[in-house]
Amino acid sequence: MNGNQIDVVTMRLGKEMLAVAASNLHEILEPVPVTRVPNAGSFVSGLINVRGAVVPLADLRAIFGMEAEETTHDTRMVVLDVELEGGATTVAILADKVLDVSALDLESVDAAPPVGSRWPTEIVRGIGQRDGEFVILPDLPAIFKSHCARSAEPRKDIHR
């Protein structure tokens, strides 16, 4: 791997292709039973058991405004570490299908277009290209941090 390339895990979410850095990857699981967390909202709505650890399960579809989809035999849970304020936190994200682990040429990555995109620049590190298709690099720390910040605000969330 030279300086211009990083290893990424590519996955499918709806019609889009996503890539996250493979260095943060723990493992890729076939769907396991999910425990719903009441009142937690649609983004991080559940918990799963990953080898004896309780790990929050996030669905990026809620962030990118995509429709929820049924679990298929291709659905995977991608377990990875995300740097948050209190240190690295292990989370799992849902993917409709995991494609592969491959090298991504950073030179092909552009900043997300500021307007007219469903990919807000605050939560997307960039958009690359692979085999003639766009690959979205979500900024997971930013996404999870803004979730923490937003959900910390109202204190009486269970009420009513």
Binding site: P33, T35, V37, N39, L47, N49, V54
Partner: protein, 659 residues
């Protein structure tokens, strides 16, 4: 190697300094307690000894002076005055800095020693050197007299017996008598044979060890008998203590606390273990408990009697291992109260308010992690009590109270919880002032209807600074909200009660341990949740009339008492069809009872609590999650928060029905 030994020494020194500090503080109230003087002296002496052993010569020399001065107190030469105690406490503070940074500390240490010397009546404060040297060893065996004979060829070999006598006389003033019974008649006498023996009677007892040192170079042919005195007359009740084994727990408790003095465990019966190793053990036990639950589930499924029997055995063993591991982690609260005594003493001096500090229940044990984490909140609460709670002496006099304020810290078991209460007899909280401040800070709207208790609880809100004036002691930004957050992180609760003019009581309710609890597994809408069993009072059927109703809260008649209840399915937004026979789990927290309506009660489980990640930390109502026997995750209900939600709902209903 040196580092490790240094670490051990530092830890021991920290404990010894804490013990010394505690004894000195106790001496302040009972200066005539010779046991305390002896205990303080022993700590000093052990500290000096091990300091010298580990090469901390500057500290050792410093302690020698300190010890010398204190020895005069012990000998009864000097009465213990508050000035001496104050100087001794200041000296105590210098010890640990001297270990970490001996060079830069020497000037400060010298200044402290001078203060100490000035505090001692009779000038320079240094006792005669010989006395100081001999006195520390007083607890060791001594002798008052000895007889000895040297082998007959001693002079032929070039020894001079008179040097021995000189050395003995250096130990203490002595009467020397020659024993001449073996001297042969003149005709047969060989002038080169040495046949005289001696009896040496000391005027003060001398250490046996020191005497033996004198004869170190005279081997087997020496005849030596020591006479008299086995224990030091100056410290008749001081137990012989092996150096380096003194621990704070082993030292007698402060008699003022009224707690029964703990029997010191004999040396060799305790050992130090790094906390991380205990944590690791606890983690393993936690995993075992999860796997054990899984085994139980499988065994129950298979109905194989042999497997069921093994599963039962494993369950018993796991439970035993769990409680043994937990008991290892238990530490008495007394291990941190020493520094609170010191804190209150210093606060009292700084604020110029006489404060009487009482501690009770020091033997109450809590998980080590918990003890470490509650120390800071307690310090904060103590500062608040001393600074804001207690009035000045004049104000107290004017209010007809004794000039000295009282702050009382007590700890006690209450079921599976420990209650720590901090009470002061000060001015109490002023609801009007709290309200004004909360309105000014935008915490409540001016027309908000709040009970007195709710008003008091506002001081725990972030952004509510407790003091109108920020003083040196408290009110520097870290507020009561941090205290509450810390306690809640420990799955504990904090309560506040106050009577204007008569004082304030803060109660901390803490679970005995953090990691593993007994839980009651329940089902709501097909989902499993765990309720800490310690909070469960009873389970009842929900009367049919109320079962089909909706609405989130109502009341239930439990043996004549009206208990509000919450439907968890409403709280958790469950859409699944209603259960035909809902149950009510009556829980209590913070002195309030509420019922939780569930679909089904599943079983008792041992629950290993895992913290929720930051992504869910904001949710009220859950204290963590656990992994069930079938590998699924279940949320653990935070009964305290649920009860608070129930109370909010209850007041809501009351207001609506009143309107």
């Amino acid at each position: 190697m040196i580092d490790e030994a240094g670490q051990i020494f530092l830890q021991e020194a920290t404990e010894l300094v804490a013990a010394l500090e505690r004894d000195l503080l106790a001496l302040e109230t009972s200066p005539d307690d010779s046991e305390l003087v002896n205990a303080a002296f022993r700590s000093l002496h052990t500290l000096k000894g091990s300091g010298a052993m580990f090469g901390y010569t500057a500290m050792s020399a410093f302690l020698h002076e300190f010890e010398t001065a204190f020895d005069r107190v012990r000998q009864g030469d000097v009465a213990l005055s508050p000035a001496i105690v104050a100087a001794a406490l200041a000296a105590c503070d210098r010890v640990l800095p001297m270990i970490s940074d001996p060079d830069s500390e020497s000037a400060a240490a010298q200044a402290v020693l001078e203060t100490l010397a000035r505090a001692m009546p009779g000038g320079e404060g240094a006792a005669p050197a010989a006395q100081a040297e001999a006195a520390p060893e007083n607890a060791a065996p001594v002798a008052e007299a000895l007889r000895f004979r040297l082998p007959p060829d001693v002079v032929k070999l070039g020894h001079d017996p008179s040097m021995l006598l000189d050395e003995l006389r250096e130990l203490a003033p002595a009467q020397v008598q020659a024993i001449t019974d073996r001297i042969a008649p003149l005709e047969t006498l060989d002038p080169l044979d040495f046949l005289v023996g001696w009896r040496v009677a000391f005027e003060t007892p001398v250490l046996r060890e020191a005497i033996e040192d004198v004869f170190m170079f005279h081997g087997d042919d020496l005849e030596l008998t020591l006479e008299g005195g086995h224990a030091a007359p100056a410290a008749p009740s001081a137990p012989v203590e092996a150096k380096g084994t003194a621990t704070p727990e082993a030292a007698p408790s402060n008699p003022a606390s009224g707690a029964p003095a703990k029997v010191a465990p004999a040396a060799g019966e305790t050992m130090r273990v790094a906390t991380e190793r205990l944590d690791e053990l606890m983690d393993r036990v936690g995993e075992l408990v999860i796997v054990e639950a899984r085994l139980q589930a499988l065994a129950a499924q298979s109905r194989d009697p042999a497997l069921l029997a093994v599963a039962e055995d494993i369950e018993r063993l796991a439970a035993g291992l769990r409680s043994a591991t937990m008991s290892m982690r238990m530490v008495p609260i007394g291990s941190i109260t020493g520094r609170f005594r010191r804190l209150v003493r210093d606060l009292s001096a700084m604020l110029e308010k006489p404060i009487h500090f009482e501690v009770s229940g020091e033997e109450t044990e809590l998980d080590k992690t918990m003890i470490d984490l509650i120390a800071d909140p307690l310090v904060h609460l103590l500062r608040n009590s001393a600074d804001h709670g207690l009035e000045s002496a004049e104000a107290r006099r004017a209010a007809g109270k004794p000039e000295g304020g009282t702050v009382r810290l007590s700890a006690a078991y209450a079921g599976a919880e420990v209650l720590i209460t901090l009470t002061d007899d000060g001015r109490g909280l002023d609801p009007g002032k709290i309200r004004a401040r909360a309105e000014a800070n935008g915490l409540i709207s001016p027309d908000a209807q709040l009970s007195e208790r709710d008003l008091y609880n506002l001081i725990f809100e972030p952004g509510f600074s407790t003091a109108a004036a920020v003083t040196e002691v408290s009110g520097r930004g870290v507020g009561m909200d941090v205290v509450r957050r810390t306690i809640e992180q420990l799955r504990g609760q904090i309560e506040l009660d106050s009577e204007p003019g008569h004082g304030t009581t803060v109660t901390l309710r803490l679970p005995l341990t953090l990691a593993i609890i007994d839980g009651l597994l329940i089902e709501v809408g097909g989902e499993h949740y765990t309720i800490p069993l310690a909070a469960v009072e009873e389970c009842v059927e929900l009367p049919l009339a109320q079962a089909q109703e909706n609405g989130s809260a109502a009341f239930l008649n439990i043996r004549g008492a009206l208990v509000p209840f919450l439907r968890l399915r409403e709280l958790f937004h469950v859409d699944a069809p209603l259960s035909l026979h809902p149950k009510v789990v009556i829980v209590q927290a913070g002195g309030h009872r509420i019922g939780l309506v569930v679909d089904r009660i599943v079983s008792n489980t041992q629950t290993v609590i895992k913290q929720l990640s930051q992504l869910h930390a904001h949710l009220r109502g859950f204290s963590g999650a656990t992994i069930l026997g079938d590998g699924r995750v279940a949320l653990v209900l935070d009964v305290g928060q649920i009860v608070a939600l129930g109370r909010e709902a209850e007041e809501h209903i009351r207001r609506e029905s009143a309107a």
